[in-house]
C-alpha cells in the first residue's frame, strides 16, 4: 500500500483504498455460516412474530442449541453511531446566548427560544432539540459541547475520514468500529456491523470480518418474474453458490464476497419480510424520511435478539449550511431529535435500553462568524451527544467561550478529543482494549462516559 502517501495521492484514491478494504472477500472453502439452515429461519420467524407483538424476545427458553449459537451472545452491548453529515453548527445546537459575543458574531443567525442547558448557564438547547433536553433531564444524555482534535482540517472529506478511522491519519484503511469488529467479531455474522443507510459506512469498514448494509430490515427480499415455489428456494440458495466464485481476479473475489454476504444477510432477515414494523411501542416521526424508519427497524431487530454489535446511521438533513442556515437547520434537527427520542423510548419499552448507547457525531462545527449568505463556513470543534440509559449524563469537555475559545481562523477550539471518546467507549462500553483499536490510544484522556 505504499502508494497511499498523503502528499502523493488524491482524496479520491484514499477513499478508494478504504473502500477496497471495506468489504472483505470471503474465501472459497470457508465454513458455511452458522445458523443458515432452514431450522433457524423457521425458528427466528416464530420468535420475531412474538418479538414484534410483545416487544422483546422473551422466549429465550425455547432457543435450541444451534439457534442460540447463531444469535451470538444476545447480551453484548450495542454501539449505535449517528452521523450529522456536512458539519453541524455547534453554535446553533447548543447556542451560547449567555456569551456576550454570540449575537455580535451571529447578527442574523442567532438562535432563540430554547431552554437553558442545566450544566452550563451560557448555553441553550436549540428549540428543535427539546426532546434531547428532556432525555438530558433524565440523565440519559452526555453532551460534548466542543469535540474535535488539534490542527483541525476544514475539508469535509478529510475531517470526516479522521472521525471514521479514529485517527488523524489519511492512510488508515479501516474504520474504527471496523477494526474493533476485526478483533472482537466473528467470520460468519454480517449483522455484527450494520449500516442502516443503504450503503456501507466507512466507520464500519473491516479488513477481515463481514459487515452488512441495508435500507431497513423489512425490505430485504429477492424474487424474479416467472419463478416460484421450490425453484425459487433453489434460486435464492444459488446466490450463495455464486458468492463462492473464486478465481485469481481480486475484483471478482470482492464481488463474490459481497454476493456471499447478501446470501447470509437474506437468511438472517428473512423473518422480517412483510412484517409490520409500524406496531412500535412508541410513535416515531411520520412521513417518508428514512432515518426514523431505520431507527424503528433497528429497535425491532435489537428487540428480536439479532446479533448486532456496531450500527451506523446518518441523521435526517444536510448540515453543510453555507447558505440559508436558519431555514435548513430547524426541520433537520426537529426530525433528528424526535427520531432519537422515539428510538430511546422504544428501546426502553422493549426492555433492551441498557444494552444500547448511541453516539451522535459530525465532522466539524462551523465558523463562529456567520458569512454573508445567511450561512456559516467550515469550522473546527463540533457538538457530540451520547444517548442511552447507561450514558454518564455529565458533559465532556466544556464550551470554551467565544472571547478566548476561538482559534486563529475564528473557529471553536476543541475541549474534548474524539479519539479519547472512542477509547472510552471501547473500554467502558464494549469492554475492549482501546490500544488495539485506536492508534496511540494512551495519549488521549478517557472521559467518564458510562455509568
Amino acid at each position: 500500500m505504499s502508494r497511499i502517501v498523503c502528499d502523493e495521492c488524491t482524496r479520491a484514491d484514499l477513499l478508494r483504498a478504504v473502500a477496497g478494504q471495506g468489504l472483505p472477500t470471503i474465501e472459497a472453502g470457508m465454513p458455511t455460516p452458522a445458523g443458515t439452515g432452514l431450522t433457524r429461519r423457521g425458528f427466528v420467524a416464530r420468535s420475531l412474530g412474538l418479538a414484534l407483538t410483545v416487544y422483546g424476545a422473551r422466549r429465550l427458553d425455547i432457543f435450541d442449541e444451534g439457534i442460540a449459537a447463531a444469535a451470538s451472545a444476545p447480551q453484548t452491548p450495542i454501539l449505535v453511531t449517528v452521523f450529522l453529515q456536512g458539519g453541524a453548527d455547534a453554535l446553533s445546537l447548543l447556542y451560547p446566548d449567555g456569551d456576550p459575543l454570540y449575537r455580535k458574531l451571529r447578527t442574523q443567525l442567532a438562535v432563540s427560544g430554547g431552554t437553558q442547558f442545566a450544566e452550563d448557564a451560557r448555553l441553550y438547547w436549540h428549540p428543535a432539540l427539546a426532546p434531547l433536553a428532556t432525555l438530558h433531564g433524565e440523565g440519559k444524555v452526555t453532551v460534548l459541547p466542543a469535540v474535535g482534535y488539534d490542527h483541525p482540517d476544514q475539508s469535509h472529506f478529510t475531517s470526516r475520514h479522521f472521525w471514521e478511522v479514529g485517527a488523524t491519519d489519511p492512510r488508515l484503511l479501516t474504520g474504527w468500529m471496523g477494526r474493533y469488529l476485526d478483533l472482537a467479531g466473528v467470520p460468519d455474522n454480517p449483522l455484527q456491523g450494520l449500516s442502516l443507510t443503504g450503503s456501507l459506512q466507512p466507520t464500519l469498514a473491516t479488513a477481515r470480518v463481514p459487515v452488512a448494509a441495508i435500507d431497513g430490515p423489512g425490505q430485504y427480499d429477492f424474487w424474479t418474474p416467472g419463478v416460484w415455489g421450490e425453484v425459487q428456494t433453489r434460486m435464492l440458495d444459488a446466490i450463495g453458490d455464486l458468492g463462492r466464485a473464486g478465481g485469481s481476479d481480486p475484483t471478482m473475489r470482492t464481488v463474490a464476497g459481497v454476493t456471499k454476504q447478501v446470501d447470509t444477510l437474506r437468511r438472517q432477515l428473512a423473518p422480517f419480510q412483510g412484517a409490520k414494523l409500524g406496531t412500535a411501542a412508541v410513535p416515531y416521526p411520520a412521513g417518508n424520511d428514512s432515518f426514523p424508519q431505520s431507527l424503528q427497524g433497528l429497535a425491532a431487530m435489537i428487540g428480536a435478539g439479532l446479533p448486532l454489535r456496531c450500527v451506523a446511521l446518518e441523521a435526517t438533513g444536510e448540515y453543510d449550511t453555507h447558505a440559508g442556515q436558519a431555514s435548513a437547520l430547524a426541520p433537520a434537527l426537529t426530525t433528528t431529535a424526535a427520531s432519537l427520542y422515539a428510538f430511546q423510548r422504544d428501546l426502553e419499552a422493549r426492555g433492551v435500553a441498557d444494552r444500547v448507547l448511541t453516539l451522535v457525531w459530525t465532522e466539524f462545527g462551523r465558523r463562529a462568524k456567520e458569512n454573508g449568505s445567511g450561512g456559516t463556513d467550515h469550522g473546527a470543534a463540533g457538538t457530540g451527544f451520547l444517548i442511552g440509559t447507561r450514558a454518564a449524563g455529565t458533559q465532556v469537555g466544556e464550551f470554551p467561550g467565544l472571547a478566548t475559545g476561538l482559534d486563529a481562523d475564528g473557529n471553536l477550539k476543541a475541549t474534548a478529543d474524539f479519539r479519547g471518546v472512542y477509547a472510552g467507549l471501547l473500554e467502558q462500553w464494549l469492554q475492549f482494549d482501546a490500544s488495539r483499536v485506536i492508534p496511540n490510544a494512551s495519549r488521549f484522556t478517557r472521559p467518564h462516559l458510562v455509568k
Binding site: 502508494r3 498523503c6 502528499d7 495521492c9 488524491t10 482524496r11 479520491a12 484514491d13 484514499l14 477513499l15 478508494r16 473502500a19 477496497g20 471495506g22 468489504l23 472459497a28 453529515q85 476544514q154 475539508s155 469535509h156 472529506f157 478529510t158 489519511p170 450503503s199 456501507l200 452488512a212 448494509a213 424474487w223 424474479t224 416467472g226 419463478v227 415455489g229 421450490e230 425453484v231 433453489r234 434460486m235 440458495d237 444459488a238 453458490d241 455464486l242 458468492g243 463462492r244 466464485a245 473464486g246 478465481g247 481480486p250 471478482m252 464481488v255 463474490a256 454476493t259 454476504q261 447478501v262 444477510l265 444536510e318 453555507h322 458569512n371 454573508g372 449568505s373 450561512g375 481562523d409
Partner: protein, 444 residues
C-alpha cells in the same frame, strides 16, 4: 510509457474496451471493433463522428414520451436511454466521468432544466480542453447554485466553490498544493456571480455583476494579483501539482490499479502540452494494464445500460430512476460534491438494487411455465438462458454454480408430469436472473 498494449486484440479485449470506455457491446460490436486493431478501435472511440441513436425510442411506464426537464426521474431515464442508444459511447462515458468529477446534485440545485444544461456542457467538452471545461463549469448555473457561487460577494465571501475547485476538481487535498489562506483568497477572486429568482421561473438570469466583485489584490499560491474568476481557474490549471492530480484521477476511472511512475509521467506530459483530455485518454485506453490488469466493478448505470444494449432493449419505464437510487447511482443526484465512490459500488444493499434492475428487464420477457412442453436437462436450459443474454463469457466457477442450481432444481420435479414440463421454464427464468447478477456480469 510509449509501449501500448502489444498483445492480441481480439473480441475479448475489444469487449473490455467497450465496457471501460462505454456501456458494453451490442451483439457483434466487439468482433467488429476487434477487426480495427487496437489503434483503430481506440481512434474510433476518440473520434466517433456524428451521434446516431440506435434502437427503440424511450418512454415512461405509461407509454408517454419522457419529460426530462420536468418529471421526477425522467432525467435519469433520459440519460440512461442515451447511454443505451448512442453511437458515441466514449463521449457519453466521459460525460458521466465529468458528472462524477464536478459532482453536482439536483438535491441542491432544484432544477432539472439547469442540470440538463450542465449535462450538455459535460458532453460538449467531453474530450477537449480541461481548462475550458473548468472555466465553463465555474460559470455554470447549476454549479453556481450548488456550491453557492451566486452567494459569494465582495462584502460576504463564501468559500464553498473555491475550496472544492482546488480540493476536488484540480489539485487534491493533503498534497501540500494549497493552504487555507489560498481558499479564502480564491473565494475573493470568484466573487461577483449573481442571479435572479421568481416564483414562476425559479432561478434565472445568471450573470457576473462587477459591483459585487472584490477588485482588491489577492495572494494565491504565494503570488499577488488583482485576480478575477478566470484567473482563479488559470491559477489552478497552471499549478505544478495539477497535471499529476488530473492524470491520476482520470486514469482511476478506467483502470483500478495506480499507474506506475513511468506511465504517470507520460500521462502528465501528454496533458501538460495544451491541457487536452483526448491525448491522455488515448494513452490510458491503449495501456496494457487495461487489458491485463484486474477487472473493474461496473457502475450501476453501466451495468443496466449494458444489459439493455446486449439484448437490443430500450428504456420503457421510469422505474429506472428509483432502481438507480437503490443501486447507489441515481443520475443527477451524486451523494455529495466528491461524487460516487467508484470502488464501493457493491454492498449488500446496492446488490439488491441491481437484482431489482435485472428483475425489471425480465418482467416483460418472462417465459410462461404453462407453455412448457418437454422435459429438458440442465445443460440445455442453461444454454438457452445464456443465449437470452447473447452468450456472455462466464468463469468456470460461475458456470458450475449455475449448472448445479439447474440440476438440483430440475431434480425437484421428480416424477410429477406437470413439474417435468413446467420446471425447465421456471429454471430458465431463474437462470436469466442469476446470470445477470453473477460476479462475471457485474464486472468487466
Amino acid at each position: 510509457m510509449g509501449a501500448p498494449h502489444r498483445g492480441s486484440f481480439d473480441a475479448p479485449q475489444a469487449e473490455r474496451l467497450l465496457w471501460r470506455a462505454g456501456f458494453g457491446p451490442r451483439p457483434g460490436e466487439a468482433e467488429a471493433l476487434a477487426k480495427l486493431g487496437l489503434d483503430g478501435a481506440v481512434h474510433s472511440l476518440l473520434y466517433p463522428g456524428r451521434e446516431k441513436l440506435v434502437g427503440p425510442k424511450p418512454h415512461d411506464s405509461k407509454g408517454r414520451p419522457l419529460a426530462p426537464a420536468d418529471a421526477w426521474g425522467h432525467d435519469h431515464c433520459w440519460w440512461l436511454d442515451r447511454m443505451v442508444r448512442t453511437s458515441r459511447p466514449l463521449v457519453e462515458r466521459m460525460t458521466l466521468v465529468w458528472h462524477d468529477w464536478f459532482a453536482t446534485s439536483n438535491a441542491g440545485v432544484g432544477s432539472q432544466k439547469l442540470m440538463l444544461q450542465q449535462n450538455e456542457l459535460f458532453r460538449r467538452r467531453s474530450m477537449g480542453s480541461f481548462h475550458e471545461l473548468l472555466v465553463d463549469v465555474t460559470a455554470n448555473p447549476a454549479m453556481l447554485l450548488w456550491l453557492n457561487g451566486v452567494e459569494n460577494s465582495k462584502e460576504a465571501p463564501n468559500e464553498n466553490y473555491a475550496r472544492e475547485m482546488m480540493e476536488l476538481f484540480t489539485l487534491g487535498a493533503d498534497r501540500g498544493a494549497y493552504t487555507e489562506r489560498d481558499v479564502r483568497e480564491q473565494a475573493r477572486s470568484l466573487t461577483g456571480w449573481r442571479n435572479r429568482w421568481s416564483r414562476g421561473r425559479g432561478d434565472y438570469d445568471f450573470h457576473f455583476d462587477a459591483t459585487e466583485h472584490d477588485t482588491g489584490t489577492k495572494v494565491v499560491f504565494r503570488k499577488a494579483g488583482r485576480y478575477a474568476w478566470r484567473d482563479a481557474c488559470r491559477l489552478c490549471i497552471s499549478h505544478p501539482k495539477h497535471a499529476s492530480f488530473l492524470a491520476q484521477k482520470l486514469w482511476g476511472y478506467f483502470i483500478p490499479v495506480a499507474p506506475d511512475a513511468h506511465t504517470q509521467r507520460a500521462l502528465e506530459a501528454a496533458y501538460r502540452k495544451d491541457h487536452e483530455v483526448r491525448p491522455v485518454l488515448e494513452l490510458i485506453l491503449k495501456h496494457p494494464t487495461l487489458y491485463h490488469g484486474p477487472r473493474m466493478t461496473k457502475p450501476p448505470v453501466v451495468h443496466v445500460a449494458g444489459l439493455l444494449r446486449r439484448i437490443g432493449a430500450g428504456v420503457t419505464t421510469d422505474a429506472w430512476a428509483w432502481i438507480g437510487a437503490l443501486s447507489g447511482q441515481q443520475l443527477f443526484y451524486p451523494p455529495n460534491v466528491a461524487g460516487w465512490d467508484d470502488t464501493r459500488w457493491l454492498d449488500t444493499a446496492t446488490f439488491r438494487g441491481r437484482w431489482i434492475g435485472v428483475q425489471q428487464i425480465l418482467r416483460d420477457r418472462q417465459l410462461d411455465p404453462a407453455k412448457g412442453k418437454t422435459a429438458a436437462d440442465a445443460p440445455t436450459v442453461l444454454k438457452r438462458a445464456l443465449a437470452f443474454w447473447k452468450n456472455p463469457a462466464l468463469s468456470a466457477s460461475t458456470h458450475a454454480a449455475l449448472l448445479r442450481f439447474a440440476h438440483s432444481a430440475l431434480a425437484d420435479a421428480g416424477n410429477a408430469k406437470w413439474k417435468q414440463t413446467s420446471y425447465p421454464v421456471l429454471v430458465e427464468n431463474a437462470l436469466r436472473q442469476l446470470i445477470a447478477v453473477s460476479p462475471d456480469l457485474q464486472t468487466s
